[in-house]
Symmetry: C2
Subunit: 383 residues, 2 copies
């Protein structure tokens, strides 16, 4: 049935009406989830319950199919709505161990330290921050601590841990440095009570700990710090247990190599000096994303990335090996040996296995989400 | 006011009720947008109208603030809903030039060629595909063509263009190769009628052309192919005009360097052979995304990427220069020269300018969206 121009306006008004109803529904939903959050913080239920989330989505997907609506659309919308409610439910958290008299966060005024200070406070712990100027009073501050969390820059971690020789014996000593072997050894050395190494795999800009990974490296007396792991669970964090050595080996790949390559990529671009604006306008979504992954590095702390790259003892060996691989591949291009390149490509693909296909699927989904935000105008000007 | 356990179930039922209403609203909205799509295809209005989109979002953001709902949440949801409606509105498109008797797509059975065949057909054009086996009949197929679109692999483009010596004089000759200087020169050489170079900046998996960039390089007789640019606009594409040389210069950065680096990164990882599953589980969202950008390469065609990297005459020079920068930076790490690294870091940051801050903001938004899909269970097992 054809539609007239007048009717187009009517249809658009109907769309506006539906979208208004959507806003009202969201307001109603937020009111209810606020109550749920209140209840959860009273009884200490975690904000993020994977099973409830899965069940809620599954039911709505069935309804969507019955009404001829894309279940993927409904799932995407519900996940986005739930993200909002996770981050606004966070009024208070249950305190997993009310017997802890005092939590001391060394470096608690720093970017990442501040998050933990906030989380502990919102869970009802008494929190004291120990910063550079407070060292003269350190003995007094630390005397009755039930937990000491070291949240200082990598290069200071070991020297600061070395100062913690007078902690109460039952005090839990924890660090959140991005390397684990050396800080953990230093903590075992300086303190004979419970010791734990953590590496929060997120930056200081996360809106909450919900769905954020925290790597856990066991030190000593696990039963004495179980409450802390429970507490992180209550905050919504995802715990990944591993050994300090396995952690550090993985971080060379995860942190050093990627950051270093992004640095070189930026260095090369700046040296060649192409028109950045034009590069961006001529890019596909995937290139824009890749360029953004490089660009974002340079909006962050140079000292932090210098520490990550320079302070890892395996960096030079790893980067040298990378350079060898780069030059081998470059030689294939120089000698126009496409056959060998394709052979190597397939070998690497086999090593990645099904993961590469998963990457393709996931990145496509993500690129569609990135595209949602595009607001570029159609360029109607002639060439 | 405290909440009891019984009430928690009631609250959850209320949430379920609201989510059901959401599904119903989406079904109603889809019915209306289908009618809008029908009207648009009748009168040739583009599916994607940036101004209407902006206005619609702005109005709902105001309502959201009035009702204490996050306007960012409302905008994210509306953009996701509109994406769905763009891609399902595509019943038919207006034909921008009904006088075109026949569109011939050479390589129209290929991945990208197929998209254009589909688009032209849905816009009411008569479309004929010319594949390898059809060349004996090529003269007959091409005799009455109003538009010939060359959609074959890069390495075949020029040789196939060279065969097109007998096109009707008013026939528009277009290619969609990912390099532009050589194909454009070849088309100008072989055909004396209207000539146009296009580079669609998207892969064969896009659900529609809405918000996708198409690079436009002028060849000859622009007035004779304006209708085609209009047609791409009707499909929702975003046109970016540039010269073939500027395009190719940009593509060395955009395509060659990134793909080559991803290749080397994969090659290096496969060589070092770390536990991939562990790498992923220990990663932060940003690292998972970066790893996925590498992994996805190897789920795609080796020959395509070999062509992109090997067939660009500037590849060797650019990659050699990159290798120089890599080794310069590596030397800083070897000599523990953090100071110089930080100086260089700041210089590069200055070159990127405000773009790097924008990258950080955009990537954070995107990472939050990526996190929405996380379904990892909390690992409760002891270390």
């Amino acid at each position: 049935m054809p539609v007239s121009p007048d009717e187009l306006n009517k249809l658009r008004q109907q769309i506006d009406g539906i979208d208004s109803q959507l806003v009202t529904l969201l307001a109603q939903r937020a009111e209810i989830t606020a109550k749920v959050g209140q209840y959860k913080s009273q009884v200490g239920l975690p904000i993020y319950v994977p099973e409830r989330e899965a069940e809620l989505i599954a039911k709505r997907r069935v309804e969507a199919e019955q009404q001829n609506v894309s279940p993927v659309l409904v799932e995407d919308l519900l996940r986005r709505i739930m993200r909002e409610s996770y981050h606004t439910q966070n009024v208070k958290y249950l305190c997993a161990n009310p017997q802890i008299k005092k939590v001391v966060v060394i470096g608690g005024a720093g970017a990442l330290g501040r998050i933990f200070v906030d989380m502990f406070k919102r869970s009802g712990y008494g929190v004291t921050i120990l910063e550079q100027d407070d060292w003269p009073n350190a003995d007094k501050i630390l005397a009755d601590a039930g937990l000491v969390l070291v949240a200082v820059p990598i290069k200071l971690t070991e020297s600061i841990i070395a100062k913690l020789t007078h902690l109460p014996l039952d005090c839990v000593l924890v660090d959140i440095t991005s390397t684990k072997q050396k800080p953990l050894a230093a903590m075992m050395d300086t303190h004979s009570g419970p010791v734990l190494g953590l590496h929060p795999m997120f930056g200081p800009d996360v809106p909450s700990l919900v769905k954020q990974v925290v790597v856990v490296c066991h030190g000593r007396d696990a039963d004495k710090y179980q409450w802390l792991l429970q507490q992180i669970g209550i905050w919504g964090g995802i715990l990944q247990h591993t050994s300090a050595k396995e952690h550090d080996d993985a971080m060379v790949f995860i942190q050093v190599l990627r950051h270093f390559c992004s640095f070189v990529f930026g260095s090369h671009l700046a040296g060649e000096n192409p028109d950045l604006q034009q590069l961006i306008s001529l890019s596909s979504p995937i290139y824009r994303l890749e360029l953004a992954m490089v660009g974002r590095l340079f909006a962050q702390s140079p000292a932090l990335y210098a520490d990550i790259i320079f302070d890892n003892k395996d960096s030079v060996a790893l980067l040298t090996e990378f350079s060898v691989k780069f030059n081998q591949a470059l030689q294939l291009v120089e000698t126009k040996n496409k056959g060998e390149f394709i052979k190597e490509f397939c070998k690497i693909g086999a090593w990645f296995g099904d993961y590469s296909k998963q990457c393709l699927v996931d990145s496509r989904k993500l690129l569609l989400k990135a595209d949602d935000d595009r607001t570029l105008k159609v360029d109607q000007s002639p060439s």
